[in-house]
């Protein structure tokens, strides 16, 4: 069986540079780090949110609260699956009312994850604004959602898989793409099922 063609899109240094740039852009756009909080979508969005917060700290010397969020309870496809996804802990240990929330995820694809996250954030309070930072924007949006800060834009086919690996979760740091072009034909229905799902 031929293996899918795997390309590395970003290495450790590339990711570090993207995070540094995003941190600067966030500070510029919000005129500093006052009234700023970050919420990362589990699992790798949370890793990236912590990194951005650390970077902002090293630039401005301000500690930004970082929350974690599991969006599975807010998904729009919970009833179309046989088994429910395992829920991880949502930890937002600060008040978000009237603050600027930066939502962080690893890959932006259909936008459905972000829709779920927005709904959940609003249940915690009414922030002044919600901004979206992603490491990779791979297109194929199914909802009117756009990112405010992007590490890298990557044109993809819908069936491609973009995977972000972080040191905290995967013991390695890179972004890879599995091009679907070489995938065996029997894999295709599985890909179709993913449409609208969470997979990126």
């Amino acid at each position: 069986m031929p293996k899918a063609k795997v390309e590395t899109l970003m290495d450790k240094k590339g990711i570090a540079r993207a995070i540094t740039r995003i941190a600067h852009e966030i500070l510029e756009r919000n005129n500093g780090a006052e009234s700023l909080v970050m919420i990362g979508i589990l699992t790798r969005g949370a890793d990236l949110a912590r990194r951005i917060a650390e970077k902002i700290n090293s630039i401005e010397g301000v500690d930004i609260p970082v929350g974690l969020m599991d969006i599975n309870l807010y998904r729009d496809d919970v009833h179309s699956k046989l088994d429910q996804p395992i829920i991880q802990r949502t930890e937002i240990l600060f008040d978000i009312v009237d603050l600027n929330v930066v939502l962080v995820d690893d890959v932006l694809f259909t936008g459905r994850t972000i829709r779920a996250a927005l709904d959940q954030i609003v249940d915690f309070g009414r922030p002044r604004s919600i901004q979206l930072a992603v490491l990779i924007d791979r297109g194929h949006r199914e909802l009117p959602i756009r990112p405010d800060y992007v590490g890298k834009n990557i044109p993809t086919a819908r069936e491609d898989k973009v995977l972000v690996r972080t040191l905290e979760t995967d013991d390695e740091e890179k972004v890879v793409i599995e091009r679907s072009g070489l995938l065996p034909i029997d894999k295709v229905p599985e890909m179709k099922k993913r449409k609208g799902g969470k997979s990126k």
Binding site: V78, Q84, Q120, D123
Partner: protein, 310 residues
């Protein structure tokens, strides 16, 4: 990891991994109960029927709230105001309600096996909220969640269940669950309130409360069912209190950092003194809060398990 069955009828055949999954999920749901808006949209469109053939305060309200917190539509059935008083059978009742399109049924019934019987007549997911003297799985799950929160794990803990072992479904579910999770379990009560072949539980059996609780970590005190006294199973309430009641003096026999539990409703001054029930080591109200989280977890994990063949 997932649950194997689409029903929760008891803990007797539930594995350690399944119990861990339910308890871990319940921990994440505890956080939702603390939010300003205590509601997530997960079970939108799911309708749950709470079918209570026996009176209940905690379990019924806890299930109803759990359903509402998950955005399910819930309806509650009380036997006294229903056509059951006109003689309608359980099967007809539930099939008629299912014809109005429900997805899950939570049932409490005085007959052992009623939840299992329901799984044979309807397509909905069935959750046992207490059947006769058989099982009360969500109660045991919330007890284990409460213990696990305090000690981190159930492995190797000495847990003593005191009271009417013969008639208590809470004791049975606790025995199965605690043993599966690696706790060392003992039961204690008057010999007239021990079931036949009690040794088949595979737990330590005591009729002397002091011996039973010596060196225990957790004491879970069952309600003495006042109606049993009329049946002559023990001479008097006062004697029961003297022999089996948990008093402050008896607590000295327990391990340091011990825990007192009671599934409710309490008979203060009979199986437990107010001093013990309201003491620092009592986690009775925490049990109630955890109950809601556990029921949310069970509803969540079973929902959607529809098409699967048994």
């Amino acid at each position: 990891m997932k649950l194997r069955s689409r029903h929760l009828l008891g803990l007797e055949n539930v594995t350690r991994d399944e119990i861990s999954l339910i308890l871990d999920t319940a921990e994440t749901f505890r956080e939702i109960i603390e939010r300003p808006i205590k509601k997530v949209p997960t079970l939108r469109g799911i309708t749950v029927l709470n079918l209570f053939y026996e009176p209940s305060t905690r379990t019924k309200i806890s299930f109803e709230l759990a359903e509402k917190r998950l955005s399910a539509d819930s309806i509650s059935f009380a036997k006294a105001t229903s056509s059951v008083t006109k003689g309608e059978s359980l099967r007809d009742t539930v099939q008629n309600i299912e014809a109005m399109k429900i997805d899950m049924v939570v049932i409490r019934h005085s007959s052992t096996g009623a939840p299992f019987y329901l799984t044979q007549c309807i397509d909905s997911n069935v959750i046992n909220a207490g059947d006769g003297s058989h099982e009360h799985p969500t109660q045991a799950l919330l007890d284990m969640m409460t213990i696990r929160q305090k000690y981190g794990s159930l492995d190797g803990l000495r847990v003593v269940l005191i009271g009417d072992v013969k008639h208590s479904r809470v004791v049975r579910s606790n025995i199965w669950g605690l043993k599966t999770m690696g706790a060392s379990v003992a039961i204690c009560g008057p010999s007239t309130l021990m079931p036949y072949e009690v040794e088949k539980f595979g737990v330590d059996v005591y009729t002397n409360v002091e011996e039973a609780i010596d060196g225990a970590d957790v004491v879970n005190i069952m309600r003495i069912q006042l109606e049993r006294q009329k049946a002559g199973l023990f001479p008097s309430m006062r004697e029961y209190t003297n022999l089996f009641g948990i008093t402050k003096e008896r607590l000295k026999l327990l391990n340091e950092n011990f825990t007192i539990m009671h599934p409710g409703p309490m008979n203060r001054g009979i199986e437990i003194t107010s001093e013990v029930a309201d003491g620092d080591s009592s986690v009775i109200l925490n049990q109630v809060t955890n109950g809601q989280a556990v029921r949310m977890a069970v509803l969540y994990l079973l929902s959607g398990k529809k098409e699967e063949a048994e």
